[in-house]
């Protein structure tokens, strides 16, 4: 399940407030749990998600333990011009993933 589910309206009017939703597949291991042999399970969470709209940052979230697996984030932005929303997120291993969604503004 490498790919996230991204929900961005395909078309919007200029100046319209649009809902953006993203659901990322990730275990969000809190670091508080132990495995069957009693060893602590290392923390592994997405700690940062940034969304840019045509290279301008419109949303940034820092995430912490105690956020459930497969985190879902929803926010609003103003449709200004036709282009691309780019989501970039980083986990505790330093892995950086990206995904994009197009938006057409009329």
């Amino acid at each position: 399940m490498a790919r996230p589910l991204i929900n961005v309206p395909a078309k919007a009017k200029k100046g319209e407030v649009v809902d953006i939703k993203i659901l990322i597949s990730h275990p969000m291991e809190s670091g508080q749990r132990r495995d069957n042999s009693g060893q602590p399970i290392a923390r592994d969470i997405i700690n940062l998600l940034v969304c840019t709209y045509n290279d301008t940052e419109v949303f940034r979230a820092e995430l912490f333990p105690a956020i459930a697996a497969n985190p879902f984030l929803s926010f609003c932005t103003v449709a200004t011009e036709t282009g691309t929303l780019k989501f970039t997120w980083t986990d505790d291993h330093g892995t950086v993933d990206t995904a994009t969604a197009p938006i057409e503004v009329t």
């Binding site: 399940m1 589910l5 939703k21 459930a68 697996a69």
Partner: protein, 250 residues
Amino acid sequence: MIRFFVVALLAFAAVATAQKKSGYEFSSRETQAMQDDDAANPGFLWVQQGETLWNRRDGAAGKSCADCHGEANNSVRGVAARYPVFAPEAGAVIDIEQRINRCRTEHQQAKPLAYESDDLLALTSFVGKQSRAMSIDVAIDARARSTFERGKTLFEQRQGQINLSCSQCHDDNWGKQLAGSPIPQAHPTGYPAYRLEWQTLGSLRRRLRNCLIGMRAEAPPYESADYVALELFLMARAKGLAIDTPSVRR
């Protein structure tokens, strides 16, 4: 008096048709909202993956699911509403997971997928999603009868250290609270389901194991035919309810 007694006994024997409710109706509004929005329902991560796998060639035969079945919304629509079914070539009643694995070994000449692996859950939820909103209608013909009876026996038989049967909760006490949440009627409309407790998608087999462990009974291994018998009985019992795979449950 005797007549009254018989009527009363029948009323307690099973959930009456008019009162039949999907597990969805026992969920909180928040959980229902999560299920209703395909963008917020984490089960769709697996459905999306299932669509990729459906079109991916695999095995020595180099065939994908789509090479034989074509578009899933035509070919496997309704499957989740009528499974488990008796498969003559298997000589037994099989569920969707077993059907997928039979397709893999026989037609794709690929290795079967492990129970609860993401790939098997992805394919099962993708197939299941094609039947969304369709009414459950499982056929119990002569060949499936013995499996159905086995499932019924398992459902009604007391077992485990606390000597409890499935029926005592789900027929006699549904709607009451157990550990902070309502006891549902055990209609498997939404499997594979995303359970918040699991933080992942899981099959009906996994859910049945959960109940068995809660009853402090010994859960048979995943391969056991007893799960298929229970699945068949439960699906027949849920006749008429709508499929809502992939569902979100607490």
